[in-house]
């Protein structure tokens, strides 16, 4: 605390001490750089305190909770139960099912999303008249909230909604998209691909723009066709950003909640009960916060493992 207050004083009063003590030049420089370092520390301190307090402390707190039995309605505090929650949760078919659904959801969204986003990014990479319009238009779903977007699609998928209207218009029968256990998860996934396309495209576009044009020229001189240029110039050049995109996509997709809550509430027949929906219900509907925390940490472990595997695989192959 004393350190903080003196340094804060220095910050405010533009340090006349530094100007007064002139003699040894080296000494002033060193104390000057120390002064700068201290100022830097003070600049980052509020953010550090906040993030430690509201990101790291909760993780530790959550880990502690996962070894306890705790209902927020109970008068007594959390009761230590050891690894019982983890044993219970890992033997719980509902939870294992939700992990499976989460994995299916990620797999349904990620490949089409990456392929489409890359295709579109390559098309809007060249400057041409109207490129700004396409970039912005494709980005619009990203800026609209998941809740609002899900509501639009709830109507599109409804019995008398636009999708069934179009299908009937061309002579195909209508389908109960969100009420059929076979089509509910793909339907939610299709919406998510649509929603995430723009942000993925923009990130990949930025990656494409870091690839020097000379590399393409050189490849062309060597007689490389379009596919060879894509395979040996574009893909290797995109590797870092592709890794970033895949990892963040996995991290975000595996935590999906709002779209499922709005579109299906986890149904029909739990076909869309992703892990976060189950965790939410466990913690806030059934007030079982200990086991919900255990579920959250198991999910965390899976997300971390899969995003690491994805990053590694992408790192090895171009």
């Amino acid at each position: 605390m004393t350190l903080t207050s003196t340094a804060a004083g220095e910050l405010a009063t533009s340090s006349p001490a530094g100007a007064g003590a002139r003699p040894a030049k080296a000494r002033t420089r060193r104390s000057g750089s120390r002064r700068l370092a201290r100022a830097g520390f003070l600049f980052v301190l509020p953010a550090v305190i906040y993030i430690v307090g509201f990101q790291l402390v909760p993780v530790v707190y959550g880990l502690v909770l996962s070894f306890t039995d705790y209902s927020p309605l109970a008068r007594s505090g959390p009761e230590f139960v050891g690894g019982a929650n983890f044993a219970k949760v890992l033997g719980d078919p509902r939870f294992l099912h939700s992990l499976l659904v989460t994995g299916q959801y990620v797999l349904l969204v990620l490949p089409p999303l990456l392929i489409l986003a890359l295709l579109l990014a390559m098309m809007v990479n060249k400057p041409f008249r109207g490129v700004g319009f396409f970039r912005s238009a494709l980005y619009v779903p990203h800026i609209v909230s998941l809740t609002a977007v899900s509501m639009i699609w709830l109507w599109l998928y409804s019995d008398n909604g636009a999708i069934n209207g179009l299908l009937e218009g061309v002579g195909l029968g209508s389908q109960a998209w969100l009420l059929d256990p076979d089509s509910a998860l793909p339907a939610v996934a299709a919406m998510r691909v649509w929603k995430a396309l723009g942000s993925n495209m923009v990130l990949l576009l930025a990656g494409l723009q870091t690839i020097p044009a000379e590399l393409y020229e050189a490849a062309r001189m060597d007689g490389a066709g379009a596919w060879a240029r894509f395979r040996y110039v574009t893909l290797p050049g995109l590797k870092p950003i592709l890794m970033y995109v895949v990892a963040t996509d996995i991290i975000f997709l595996a935590q999906s909640f709002a779209e499922v809550f709005v579109l299906t509430k986890g149904g029909p027949l739990e076909s869309t009960t992703v892990a976060n929906v189950l965790i939410y219900n466990e913690a806030f509907q059934y007030n079982s916060m200990g086991s919900a925390s255990a579920m959250a940490f198991v999910l965390f472990a899976f997300i971390a493992a899969f995003s690491l595997v994805a990053v590694r695989n992408f790192a090895r192959r171009p």
Binding site: G40, F43, P46, F54, Y61, F134
Partner: protein, 302 residues
């Protein structure tokens, strides 16, 4: 719009580049994808103006007899106006705190490195990978036990703390690590000579930051303001968990009121979605460049 107009003469060899066109095939694919992306929004707007009786089985984009009834019902049924105000307030708080603390932190990491600052920076950024489900329950309990709020004593006992309050909604958004990242990226590419000159003139570090670098960083402030606002505005799970009374609902929560009814009233729901989308869409249309470049530049340079 004005952006494109200004740009043409600015880039010297640009004139030729602007005239370059896409191959017809690519153009067709782009056009079709853009339409597929925009069509649901056009339907949303169309539905919002369509009288409920006509809404079903109608795939035309222009309502035959446009009406404002759905908007009136959305505002009345879902309590949308107070919810909009709540969302605006918490959004403004998050914008203010992020603009001060996240930018200061990014500046400190970029311009005033201290021992271990790089490691600390990456540790902070790594927290973005922590899943929300892991922190959701502890944050809920911490908000409930927040001292001296919501009837709590100094030990956080006795009341509901920050639960069911606007302060509670904004709690996870005070400083977003992504914003620190963007700020550091921004300042690490700005020139240090100005700071050195100012220091020789006897300016303190706070003054150098506040008077010299912050005024130059207006694009950064715009990006961080936009990200912070949309993060709070769009959030759904945290308000769902913490807010219990209707008067503290945010826009996204208020929208879900249309879902709870037995048969969903799509007209008013679409009107509500239009209202909830409009503020963000307007900000986007005026700042497209900031939205898109801010996101891409920040992530690539790192």
């Amino acid at each position: 719009m004005s952006v494109t107009l200004q740009r043409r003469p600015a880039s010297g060899s640009g004139f030729r580049r602007w005239r370059r066109r896409l191959r017809p095939g690519s153009f067709l694919v782009l056009f079709a994808s853009s339409m597929l992306v925009l069509l649901p929004f056009l339907w949303m707007i169309s539905m919002a103006f369509t009288p409920t009786e006509q809404a079903f089985g109608d795939v035309s984009l222009l309502p035959a007899e446009p009406t404002f009834d759905n908007f009136v019902r959305a505002v009345e049924d879902a309590n949308l106006l107070p919810a909009l105000l709540n969302s605006l307030i918490v959004g403004a708080i998050a914008v203010a705190t992020n603009c001060v603390f996240a930018i200061a932190a990014g500046y400190g990491f970029a311009m005033l490195p201290f021992r271990g600052s790089t490691a600390l920076f990456y540790a902070l950024i790594a927290t973005t990978a922590i899943p929300i489900s892991v922190t959701l329950i502890p944050l809920f309990l911490m908000a409930r036990g927040f001292p001296l709020t919501g009837g709590n004593d100094i030990l956080g006992q006795g009341g509901i703390g920050l639960l069911d309050s606007l302060g509670g909604i904004v709690l996870p958004f005070i400083v977003l690590p992504l914003n620190i990242f963007l700020a550091r990226q921004y300042f690490s590419s700005s020139a240090p000579d100005l700071a050195e000159a100012a220091r020789i003139d006897g300016a303190g570090e706070l003054r150098v930051f506040w008077k010299i670098y912050l005024p130059l960083a207006r694009p950064l402030v715009a990006v961080i303001a936009i990200f912070s606002f949309t993060a709070v505005w769009d959030d759904f799970l945290w308000p769902l968990v913490t807010i219990s009374s209707p008067e503290h609902q945010t826009v996204q929560l208020a929208l879900t009121r249309f879902l709870s009814a037995g048969n969903i009233q799509y007209g008013p729901m679409m009107a509500g979605a239009v209202i909830a989308t409009l503020p963000v869409l307007i900000v986007f249309l005026f700042n497209q460049r900031h939205f898109i470049s801010g996101l891409s530049e920040g992530s690539v340079k790192g």
